[in-house]
């Protein structure tokens, strides 16, 4: 009898232990559909999305309309120290970085842009380390698309090289994360008591000496406000005041087959991805959270700005999940991948120099809805090293 009781007690004890482990709600992240009321108020949800939720989005999108997709190169940073871009990859020591903009056309012919390139002509002219800038409207025309068909612009983040030219598309609705805007505002006013103003620095001036500090010793390159010139924020304000902005908070389905996924701190505080349903599976555009495609492939961080490297990896994983049915990481679309427009980045291999496009390039990623190819019959594939770009129109002379 005693032995029986002992056995029952042991079994119950074991069940209790197993049950305790199984509960594990402290260890396991909650699905974002479950509200966690116990989360301390100062902790942000950080755009968490469960794998199951992402796979739901894949399944849903697969039954949605498909999109044709291209990228164009808004401009190109030249001779960037490789390790400044990818700390774990230093060969070759300097690289050229394209600034890629995504173009998505739906079955009704309407266009959604992912990012909008840059606007700062003076920067290109004066700094002299960039090339190939060409206005986005002209780029669209030159590859056979109508810029007036642009109805949406999804901003992967708000940095100047990705959120410029918004005013060129007055009818387009801009999508940006609230988190992105709130963080700039928060850090603009950050106290200076213990950091001499470093944390709230808005540009490359050393707050201690007042001296202008350029690369490589950039005073603000990693500060939260750096990268958002007033001009860029003004353009976003213009959209808001004209009722042409949607301030998004986390995941958001724009329309069927087009889903925004948060990637908070993947590059900036309010970075966001865009899942697009296509004939080659789900494409995931990542702006600077996906600065480097080889970085996603090989699990290296890239372009660390206001980045939490763990969050960048988790954003990489989101792409792996969303593309798990077809083509995997090959469908992750990077903004600054040095091997863009070559066979080494397969999805961008069908590329050409944009006619009269100042050496900027375009690539056709995938077609749908009977869309015919926009690649010219005899595409100009003059290598970058042999293409001569010119100074864009510029209002102030040196």
């Amino acid at each position: 009898m005693i032995q029986k009781l002992l056995r029952i007690t042991m079994i119950l004890g074991l069940l209790a232990v197993v049950g305790g482990l199984g509960r594990a709600d402290v260890l396991r992240a909650n699905d974002d559909r479950d509200r966690d009321n116990r989360r301390p108020p100062q902790v942000l949800p950080s755009g968490f999305e469960s794998t199951d939720r992402l796979l739901d989005d894949v399944e849903r999108a697969e039954n949605a309309p498909r999109y044709s997709a291209w990228i164009v190169e808004s401009s190109r940073f030249l001779n960037v120290p490789h390790r400044a871009f990818q700390p774990d990859v230093g060969d070759p020591p300097f690289v050229d970085l394209p600034v890629n903009v995504g173009i998505l056309k739906d079955r009704d012919g309407k266009i959604t842009l992912y990012d909008s390139g840059w606007k700062q002509l003076a920067y290109i002219f004066d700094w002299n380390t960039s090339c190939c800038w060409y206005g986005l409207r002209n780029q669209l025309r030159a590859i056979g698309l109508n810029p007036d068909d642009v109805i949406r612009i999804v901003l992967g983040h708000g940095h100047w090289d990705h959120a410029g030219q918004l005013s060129e598309f007055p009818n387009a609705v801009v999508y940006i994360q609230k988190e992105e805007l709130k963080q700039i505002d928060f850090f603009l006013n950050y106290p200076v008591d213990f950091n001499s103003g470093h944390i709230r620095a808005v540009n490359t001036v050393d707050p201690l000496t007042g001296a202008q500090v350029g690369p490589p010793a950039q005073a603000c390159a990693r500060t939260p406000v750096c990268g958002y010139p007033p001009q860029t924020v003004q353009e976003i304000l213009g959209k808001v005041l004209h009722g042409k902005a949607k301030i998004v908070d986390g995941r958001h389905e724009i329309t069927r087959g087009l889903v925004i996924h948060p990637a908070f701190r993947g590059h900036t505080y309010g970075s966001q991805l865009l899942q697009v349903n296509t004939t080659r599976g789900q494409l995931v555009f990542g702006s600077d959270t996906y600065s480097s495609w080889t970085g996603i492939r090989d699990w290296f961080v890239a372009n660390i700005q206001q980045t939490d490297t763990v969050q960048q990896f988790l954003a990489y994983e989101k792409c792996y999940v969303l593309t798990s049915r077809l083509n995997s990481f090959n469908n992750c679309i990077a903004a600054h991948e040095p091997v863009s427009y070559t066979a080494a980045y397969p999805i961008t291999s069908n590329w050409w120099n944009i006619p009269n496009g100042n050496c900027s390039r375009a690539a056709e990623l995938t077609l749908a809805n009977g869309e015919r190819t926009h690649v010219p019959a005899n595409p100009d594939r003059t290598p970058p090293g042999q293409c001569v770009s010119v100074i864009p129109p510029h209002t102030i002379s040196p």
Partner: protein, 225 residues
């Protein structure tokens, strides 16, 4: 002892144990003898141990080949060649007077930019109900003070002849900001939010002017990101 050495020793031992004399004594042809030898050899080789050993070796070779080819592919990834630098004039060195002017403008520039950012974001966050009307008003009032002070300070600067045009553009920019702020402030008197929209074109033009001059005076102000 490595796997390869074990294999060699086993083979030698197998050969020495062959019943060669018995086979020849039966008067078989040399071809038959060869075949018989091969069959015996095969029997000796086809032990479970040898099969496992073989599989392990094949597996190892496979892993090594895959790893090597992956490494080669990774290091062979081509990187975009440097584009030919655009033909453009060399930036002329600044004279001491020009440098002094630009340095004097710097703290004003910083203050103007910060105020412009705070009012722009203030309006956005007001529209999203993340900032109260009173908070926005406070920001706009503060900005008005900054723009007024900046205008006075910039007027007091004496630019060298070479930078007079830039000086004027910057001054125009700050004037536009002040005027824009005055227009926006009307919202707090009559409650009509469309004053923000009316005020906007001036602040947008101002931000373009300030960016242009800033790009010239402080070319590294906003680094690549």
């Amino acid at each position: 002892m490595s796997a390869e050495e074990t294999l060699t020793l086993t083979s030698i031992r197998g050969l020495s144990d062959l019943p060669v004399g018995a086979a020849m004594g039966a008067g078989r042809s040399s071809a038959e003898t060869m075949m018989s030898r091969a069959s015996v050899l095969l029997q000796l080789w086809m032990t479970p141990k040898m099969i496992i050993l073989g599989l392990v070796v094949v597996g190892l070779v496979g892993v090594l080949t895959f790893a090597t080819s992956r490494e080669v592919a990774r290091t062979a990834t081509p990187v975009t060649a440097t584009v030919m630098p655009p033909a453009r004039p060399t930036r002329p060195a600044l004279s001491p007077v020009e440098e002094a002017f630009i340095q004097a403008l710097w703290p004003i520039h910083g203050e103007v930019q910060r105020s412009l950012m705070r009012t722009s974001l203030g309006q956005i966050l007001y529209k999203t109900s993340d900032l109260s009307r009173a908070e926005l008003k406070a920001r706009m009032e503060q900005a008005q003070v900054v723009y007024g002070r900046a205008e006075t300070s910039i007027r007091a600067l004496e630019p060298p002849a070479s930078l007079r045009n830039d000086h004027q553009i910057y001054l125009d920019g700050v004037r536009l900001l002040r005027e824009s702020a005055v227009e926006a402030m009307k919202m707090f008197k009559d409650g009509r939010e469309d004053h923000l929209l009316t005020a906007y074109p001036k602040s947008q033009e101002a931000s373009d002017k300030i960016r242009e001059v800033g790009g010239k005076f402080w070319p590294n102000e906003f680094p690549p990101n």
